[in-house]
Symmetry: C2
Subunit: 401 residues, 2 copies
């Protein structure tokens, strides 16, 4: 899939290899709009948060941004006041290139924690990336690569949607959970749209999209100190402004944004450390939305369940064991569990007629759907995860050596 | 360490290889007191629970038992009414051998779930184990082995304590989390004492001991459908009866029981699937006991943290990341994190002078202590876990093939 982030009108991107990553790979990326944007962002709720998150929260508060500056390799976490000053300096450097105020730039960093940014390299990298600013597909692709750490591939998505008579583009890229010892996962996503939409509506659409996508993925249930999802809307499509949350235009825009975020979230699960399969745990007919989410997440995070999927083992036992630890309302005698479309557990008992060998063969596919019918109400939910493999252990236990 | 379970006066044990396990290993164990006992038990809180748990709850309700009958290989979980009848039949068979009522026997099963017990084998095994009943050390050791599944070794512990002028023995054995696909972990522990103590006091002592030991261990945070901890007290030591919860005698007895349970819990962590190290996560000076427990458990279950320990990586980042996701009260700028005795994080920053290479070398030891000082109050807690290794993946993804 090509990175078409820049198909949204009026955006330009650039990247540079600044030498922050020892590998020499791209490690500074900038994304700017030619004109001022309305903006919204969602950040980690981890109480230890990085300096860029602190600065980013300030800069996006008024709902206006011109661009984003990102480095990978060093995360600027646990760096105190100097870290905050460094994050501001990154913003100021990009702002100078594009004629904006430093407070119109959102900063993000991912990589090693507890280390100060090598600011000489970072600032030179921002200069180089700003020099390279372009609306070409290649520039967008480079930006998507510059934000990666242990990801094995760039992650991009795009949707076109009509607002009034005009096509509007919602595009984005993200990076998934990757760790370089001694540090932690970071999830970053940057989205651009040429829709015209007010900051409150943009915030609402982003919050809903994140809730249904990035917040429905778990690789190892470890929320990072740097997670950031930001969207910039420059209105350059020429489409009429989206003004009402009840309007068809908002619904269409929010739908497209939700799809882009879901596609990016899927790519994060698929590129989870060591992952060989994407698992969707869907819960149906829970008594409440909270119950549905609780059951889906409890099953999805179970290492026993995730290793069973890795072994193509249709292990309903590990699923009901996980369900049984939740406080969700259900009657154990009414639950139905389906793996890859086959009912394997029903009415408190394994399904004697289930062809487990066939299910096991189906589990070799890249996508493994699990459906849990709680028969307790009307609420549905789903959580994506990936299988737990020796690759995860290798990456996280041995990477630092 | 020899199994000295039978050092408590008046207890006898027996075991048999009944052919339930394909390996031909011991798979039926019986433990009985020559005389009636006061008894207490704690069971899984998983809402899917095995038939033996259902029957065991009934049998221990009046605080009286004569013995325990256990099989490994098949867990009698998700087996409906027939499973309940089978569990009762196991009790009746042992009861007949020892001249007791079937309701005086506590049943337990561990192994494959969703399969009916092969009752002909099980009952013949109970007969053989009852024939073998003996107060010898060897008989106790065989019982401890007969309850194992994927454990790599028997787990036993014993304490002697004076009640009045008399020595009293508290002894026990347990099995840890082990899975045989398609099934799940089961934690079983059986304790015997020759102390004289009323059922309510025994219940109180057991509840407290379990809270501080078995409930402070997590291998993969997967609570099984069969977890059972039971204690039988036959009063055969001749020591004065323990009558008051405020008495020194109760405190000494409860202290000994707590130590036995803690020693058994430690052995479970040490024999966790694939484990090469035991990790103790201790939290100091939390605002509340709940905060202390929350932080200790959140760090202990983190797969990122557990793989870092496996790699001897003094990764304070993964520890503070986990702490940051809790709702515990603390000031990020006051937390101190120590790994193997060395402060590695303090006042919101890594400790520049910490010798991480030295810490990494210390982490090669079998025991890795992590201390988190929240500087927010007076509550302490600790949770034991083990490192997360490729062995865990192998056992749980590939065991069934």
């Amino acid at each position: 899939m090509p990175n078409e982030t820049l198909t949204a009108a009026g955006f330009r991107a650039g990247a540079a290899a600044a030498g922050i990553k020892p590998s020499g790979a791209l490690d500074v990326g900038v994304l700017v709009s030619e004109t001022p944007c309305h903006a919204a962002a969602v950040f980690t709720s981890n109480r230890f948060c990085g300096a860029p998150v602190e600065v980013g929260r300030e800069h996006v508060r008024n709902g206006r941004l011109r661009g984003v500056v990102v480095n990978s390799g060093v995360s600027n976490v646990a760096t105190g006041r100097r870290g905050v000053a460094d994050a501001r300096a990154m913003c100021a450097r990009l702002a100078r290139h594009v004629g904006a105020d430093f407070s119109e730039i959102l900063p993000a960093s991912t990589g090693l924690i507890g280390t100060f940014l090598p600011m000489a390299k970072v600032l030179a990298g921002i200069d180089a990336a700003a020099e390279a600013l372009s609306s070409s597909t290649r520039a967008g692709r480079d930006f998507a690569r510059a934000i990666l750490t242990t990801d094995t591939r760039a992650k991009v998505s795009l949707r076109r949607v009509r607002i009034g008579a005009r096509p509007v583009v919602v595009a984005g890229c993200c990076k998934g959970s990757g760790m370089i010892a001694p540090n932690m996962a970071t999830m970053l996503a940057f989205l651009g749209t040429d829709a015209a939409i007010s900051p409150p509506l943009l915030r609402r659409a982003l919050r809903d999209a994140v809730a249904g996508s990035f917040n429905r993925v778990t690789v190892d249930e470890c929320e990072s100190t740097s997670d950031t999802v930001a969207i910039l809307a420059n209105g350059r499509s020429g489409a009429a402004a989206i003004r009402e949350v009840t309007s068809p235009a908002f619904r269409r825009f929010a739908g497209a944004l939700g799809e882009v975020c879901s596609e990016l979230a899927y790519q994060i699960a698929a590129d989870g450390e060591g992952a060989t399969r994407v698992i969707e745990v869907a819960v149906r007919r829970a008594a409440t939305p909270a119950d549905a989410h609780d059951v889906a997440r409890t099953v999805a995070v179970s290492p026993l369940f995730r290793t069973a999927v890795h072994g193509c083992d249709p292990n309903w036992g590990r699923i009901i064991q996980a369900i049984g630890t939740t406080r969700a309302r259900f009657d154990p005698g009414r639950i139905v569990v389906r793996i890859c479309g086959e009912a394997v557990f029903r009415r408190g008992r394994p399904v004697e007629t289930a062809d487990l060998a066939k299910v096991s063969r189906r589990m070799r596919a890249k996508d493994v759907p699990v459906v849990i019918d709680l028969a307790a109400g009307r609420a549905d939910d789903r959580v994506l995860t990936c299988d737990l493999t020796k690759g995860y252990i290798t990456i996280n236990a041995e990477y630092h050596t």
